[in-house]
Amino acid sequence: MYRAARAWGPCVEGCALVVPLAFSPRYDLDRANGTFARIGHPCYGESIAGCILVCPGVQGGVAGGWALLAMKARGIGFAGLVFGSVNPVMVQGAIAAEIPVLAGIDARIFDEVSTGMTLLVDPSDGSVLVLS
């Protein structure tokens, strides 16, 4: 189990998508299709739909606030967001889109969790549990 310093939102279960670089919806994603589209990105081509993003940090770009809402409404958005460090844009966007968000997660998660694992994110106690 991993603990986060701050958390908001409902409990959610989903497939981990571990992204090793600081994240930005505008700079990294094809927001029409919900896939990583940045040239040279280690997750290039991967879909975010229904995934729980596990990421050490964020890039700037105010677009993230609307983008999380827009992608969720299209059915191609994240199920949850788990960050090391975070900025207000991601948190404001997650709350507007009603997507659970955690920040200040135990850094072990980035070494021990890999893409495809099933996670249970529980913002009520700021925990992330690996189910399988």
């Binding site: 908001w8 700079y27 940045r38 964020v58 700037g60 770009g61 105010v62 299209r74 207000p88 844009v89």
Partner: protein, 409 residues
């Protein structure tokens, strides 16, 4: 969070359901970041374009407007998707234009002033030292905090809209003295002249040490930055490192408050070779050039004047498209000063009220066969990667020479 009498009334719904719902979102954000109270804001700058908000955001704004919601703070709109006097060849789809038109109309019904700028401090509102804001362009926030001594966090579209309806924002982050102190000492030995150098410096520091709690304190061996230089530095720090506050020794208004603490801070050095290597990391300056873009953030009058001076009366190559993004206000100034005619005469296309990367540039790439963009903007170089473009990041004069020749020398 401690709520004032007025805030309790908003929470009860006395100011209407939209304000109540958005205030609840603000409360959640405030509690997430440990805010103890709200702070009134005197100006809001709002990012709200259809390209990023989609139908869900457009519906939210329409619902607010239809419900009679009204802003209680002066609010201006950031660069959208609609470009004034845009050449049809570079226009986004009719669908995007139609939906963006509806969004902008509903924003006006709410009371948002549609000014279409991502550099509000150079165009529509210059905050005083210590003034609390809710601004939604990340680079503009970093500029306002660092260069003007104003106080704002990054406020995304929904959050800025909430602030405009409630007149306040949670007091965390850069509204508070304790978060504005330097956390990193950066000694810059590189000679930093062109805006591309300033952007590269911001990108380097953002990538090495970024994070929203990071507040770099820059000391230069030799630099006298202009406001446009600092605009590029702020934009690059924000977009690469999510940094919203910085100090420059002898330049920014709060730097002197933190000088004595420097010895205890982590230290970074940026050399000439660091900057050169970073610029070169974007790709080689070889081959033909069919697209050169200036403007992220929006160009100032002085920056457009610089382009005219560097063009020296020459036209850009017939095989090369050159785009400049600027605001409505700077365009009007450029028109008055003859700068706009000079740019048009040289074959430069001026996009007004939008940032080029807001205009469905992925579709443009496929339609026009573009694959690479040459620019002096580190922010733009970062933004185009997800749209399938490679970027070449070089100094302004080199961009102009490439545009005139249609190829690199």
């Amino acid at each position: 969070m401690h709520l004032s009498r007025e805030e309790l009334a908003i929470a009860r719904g006395d100011r209407g359901l939209p304000a109540k719902v958005l205030f609840e979102q603000q409360m959640a954000v405030g509690e997430f970041f440990g805010a103890e109270r709200f702070v009134p804001v005197s100006h809001v700058h709002l990012c709200a374009d259809y390209e990023v908000m989609g139908d869900a955001g457009a519906a939210m704004i329409a619902e607010l407007a239809d419900g009679g919601a009204r802003l209680c703070v002066s609010a201006t709109g950031s660069a959208g998707c609609l470009a004034g006097d845009l050449d049809e060849r570079f226009a986004p789809s009719a669908h995007l234009l139609a939906r963006e038109g509806e969004v902008q109309q509903n924003l006006r019904r709410l009371g948002v002033l549609s000014v279409g700028t991502c550099s509000p401090a150079q165009n529509v509102y210059v905050p005083r030292f210590g003034e609390h804001l809710a601004w939604g362009d990340t680079g503009a926030v970093a500029f306002a905090n660092a260069v003007l001594g104003a106080r704002s966090n990054f406020e995304s579209g929904p959050a800025a809209l909430a602030a405009a309806l409630t007149g306040r924002t949670p007091a965390y982050g850069f509204h508070l003295d304790r978060h504005r102190a330097a956390t990193l000492h950066v000694h810059v030995m590189a000679e930093v002249h062109d805006v591309a150098d300033w952007g590269a410096l911001g990108a380097l520091v953002g990538l090495r040490a970024g994070g929203y709690s990071c507040v770099p304190y820059f000391e230069f061996d030799e630099a006298q930055p202009t406001a446009d230089d600092l605009k590029q530095l702020a934009a690059a720090l924000a977009c690469y490192g999510s940094i919203a506050m910085f100090h420059v020794a002898g330049v920014t208004p709060e730097a002197h408050l933190h000088h004595e603490a420097l010895a205890s801070l982590p230290h970074e050095e940026v050399s000439e070779s660091d900057v050169v290597s970073y610029l070169e990391s974007y790709g080689p300056s070889v081959g033909g050039v069919d697209l050169v873009v200036f403007g992220a953030p929006h160009l100032s009058l002085a920056e457009m004047e610089t382009l005219v001076r560097l063009l020296e009366g020459r036209r850009v190559a017939a095989t090369c498209t050159v785009l400049v993004s600027t605001s409505v206000m700077q365009r009007a100034a450029a028109q008055s000063a003859g700068i706009l005619d000079a740019l048009h005469g040289a074959g430069v296309n001026v996009l007004t009220g939008t940032n080029w990367y807001n205009t469905e540039i992925g579709a443009l790439r496929e339609r026009l066969g573009w694959s690479r963009v040459v620019t002096n903007s580190a922010q733009l170089a970062n933004a185009v990667g997800a749209q399938g473009y490679k970027a070449v990041l070089i100094a302004t004069h080199a961009c102009v020479e490439a545009a005139v020749r249609g190829r690199f020398a």
